[in-house]
Symmetry: C2
Subunit: 242 residues, 2 copies
């Protein structure tokens, strides 16, 4: 069993109950995860979180608090979200066991983030737009897991499978970070609007569909640079004849 901490970040968005944050910290420490990011938690720090952490206070003390999800995952090479709700556009979805296998492979080159939404509502569509894929924990029809339980199951799968984990030395370009992908999406959107292709009065999921397309491909940094170079070129007037 490797003793190094996995470069996997648990990102809790809009958590309501501080006890759940503590229970998440305990589950993470049980399973060898160290990076906890909190996006707009309702109450943090709190004595209730410390009590439920049951000794995993180092995870709480080192937790990073952010005001936006983009900040929390900016340096991550792969971002996945957990959700039980059905969506109008199908996000690519992996079962927990398979997702853990993917996470361990991709974490070898850049940090991976696993997002969890607020207890009552789960991730918003906007939060899921930041995700390359969704993770589903198999359940009965009674499908709403407690937040910390959902972290426990994913962390358990990562721990059981991590024997295979090793930091890869690769000649390939590293995967694009979440921030680099956001810049790409913003660039595409700007061009789509400026060109009149995208009607801001009636956007019809265009950007969401494009995000899904690119997320499935998991572009590397070279590829994003190429795309952005192309977009910049298309944006400039230089290529237009009169």
């Amino acid at each position: 069993m490797s003793e190094q901490a996995l470069p996997v970040r648990i990102v809790l968005v809009g958590t309501t109950h501080p006890g759940n944050i503590g229970a998440v910290a305990r589950a993470m420490k049980n399973m060898g995860l160290e990076q906890l990011a909190l996006v707009n938690p309702k109450t943090f720090p709190s004595a209730q979180a410390v009590a439920r952490a049951s000794g995993a206070t180092d995870i709480l003390n080192n937790a990073q608090v952010h005001t936006s999800l983009d900040d929390a995952v900016a340096d991550c090479g792969w971002v996945i979200g957990t959700s039980a709700r059905r969506r109008s556009i199908a996000w690519p979805t992996l079962l927990a066991r398979d997702a853990a296998t993917e996470v361990l492979q991709l974490a070898a080159t850049a940090p991976v983030a696993v997002e969890y939404g607020p207890e009552k509502t789960g991730l918003s569509n906007e939060d899921m737009d930041r995700c390359a894929a969704l993770v589903a924990i198999p359940t009965t029809e009674f499908s709403s897991l407690n937040l910390a339980m959902a972290v426990q199951v994913i962390a358990y799968e990562l721990f059981v499978q991590r024997d295979d984990f090793d930091v890869r030395q690769t000649e390939d370009s590293p995967p694009a970070t979440a921030q680099e992908l956001e810049h790409l999406y913003n660039h595409i959107e700007r061009l789509a609007l400026d060109s009149g292709f995208l009607n801001p009065e009636n956007p019809r999921y265009l950007m969401r569909r494009l995000r899904r397309l690119f997320a499935r491909a998991t572009p590397d940094q070279n590829e994003v640079n190429i795309l952005r170079g192309l977009l910049a070129q298309l944006e400039s007037d230089r290529w237009r004849k009169t």
Copy 2:
């Protein structure tokens, strides 16, 4: 995915916090388990359990409360215990994933019980004497999982693997129940004492070692009947000449 409830019983021994009982009920319902047995819970029923069950109140309402572990598992064909502590005698130990595979196989012929001890101390050696094997959830050195988390992980493994589950029609004798095994052990002990083989002043784990031996073998009812017939015979005076 089979819709029938698995004949797997979660047995909580001496649970201190009623909130944990509620969280266990929720985790069970998420994963298609229905049989909850409580042995000497500190507080039950309780509003805190209902709150943490988050809708899984049917599991709580149907929970069976017992004053002894033997009663809670009397009809079970296989009883396993969860524990993080090291013991002076090694119990046969399975990792959670492998244990779930075994549980699903054995539950096809008789109910299986999975025991969880009190939050602070875990199962006592006496409680573990009722177990054919222990289940270990892999963790870091920070090894103490919250009680409900430990139920969640086992229930998750059972749910993920239950596609393979089917009630077997078998010509074989069903496995001996926990009660039948207790009668066997009591019978052996009585004979060992009466015969002078077992010194009550210095029992030296004799019965525990014999329990381990038989538990590894998972005797069926025929075999237990044969053993008990033999013991009864040895006990009687009839076979002794003069």
